[in-house]
Symmetry: C2
Subunit: 234 residues, 2 copies
């Protein structure tokens, strides 16, 4: 019998190219934005595309997605979640290839501008997204639906805001994601009622003369509440 490390029981099985593409959301001045870049390889070299990469032999799929995000934005440790597998046989005209799409939420002021430019990447407002290669526009549509669904019952919106944010900022984020207008008094009441926002002593004066108090989201408290069955809703 062969040594264990050389034993390959699946030798006759079909291998496939595996890629990951990342839908990167950012929130800037009331507008939801997405990061796309000019593709560097054929086919479709030079066309707009989601950022992505093939998955290497020695990394897991989420590791590959994190690698891509680090490469393109210089950011580490950001919200990243698997979205969906795209695997139609003819989805890539280069060669049969499946893609495991992920969506990421980043604080748009944190990314490394040089890194982004270096890779030919650019932010587009959601409504201005150009035609992208392959099935990437469909991926964005799915990601947006997921973001809307997810933000209504999980507190992930904070991942799109600076660590310190104001209540009006938070409200405008929800309004941008869900395309609605919300009542400011009721929104404030509801959000504060969870007891998950920590009020700071500082104010943000960028949007008003009076200035609005800054808050932090209490991740620790949320984690405890979540374990005991708490549900964040809207």
């Amino acid at each position: 019998m062969k040594a264990l490390e050389n034993y390959r029981p699946y030798i006759a099985q079909p291998k496939i190219l595996v890629a990951t593409d990342c839908i990167v959301f950012g929130f800037d001045e009331g507008i939801l934005k997405l990061l796309v870049f000019r593709r560097r390889i054929d086919p479709f070299k030079g066309e707009w595309s989601l950022i992505g990469s093939f998955v290497n032999e020695e990394e897991s799929v989420p590791d590959a997605a994190r690698r891509v995000l680090l490469q393109f934005t210089g950011l580490d440790n950001i919200f990243l979640e698997e979205l969906k597998v795209y695997s139609d046989v003819d989805r890539d005209s280069g060669e049969r290839c499946i893609s495991i799409a992920h969506y990421a939420l980043i604080r748009i002021n944190d990314y490394d501008r040089e890194q982004v430019e270096l890779h030919g990447a650019k932010w587009f407002a959601l409504e201005d997204i150009p035609q992208l290669v392959l099935d990437h526009n469909a991926m964005i549509a799915d990601a947006l639906e997921r973001l809307r669904q997810k933000t209504t019952h999980r507190p992930i919106g904070f991942e799109l805001l600076p660590e310190k944010f104001t209540i009006p900022q938070l409200q405008s984020l929800y309004e941008a994601i869900h395309q609605t207008k919300l009542d400011d008094r009721n929104f404030r009441k509801k959000l504060l009622s969870f007891g998950l926002l920590i009020k700071l002593d500082e104010k943000d004066k960028s949007t008003s003369k009076k200035g609005a108090f800054l808050y932090r989201f209490d991740y620790n408290k949320y984690k405890k509440l979540e374990e005991s069955g708490f549900n964040f809703v809207l």
Copy 2:
């Protein structure tokens, strides 16, 4: 330049074994069950495993999952949804291989018994699931969580019941999935209030002397409601 169909721009990229594993839920007499089988290939030949297969070059991933389900149960056209990608580099001790897990909901009286036995498959109550190969027990845990989550805001529970079912059956299904006791009067009131159950003239007398009226779920009506923003809740 080569002919287009031979042109392979990704020639130097790493290819990976891609599999799919299916968590198959069934509901039988008040108990949630799962279909597992004795693995036929090394490593771990003969041990309990989820049903699954490698993904072929000429099929999409969901097609592969549907093929597996048809093979093992003789069933076509059943509820099947992508769960999660399992891709740890060393998750399979045979060779590097990623698996795209799916979960399926079947009407447990519909499956083909011969087909199931032929493949060495067997139903286990949720609490009696044995130790499975690789990360399959983790997949089940994730699938169960997803099922609980999903059934609270999408009407997918019906996929586990016969097409004609009674309200008490439906209630016992929800009780089994969520491990709770529900009040029969309130449960009935709530479910009927959606207006999505079509009452039939037949009764099911298997569980009581009086017999309980059979209902069908109105998929068409639900689809319309869903499009106009309706949310099925609990």
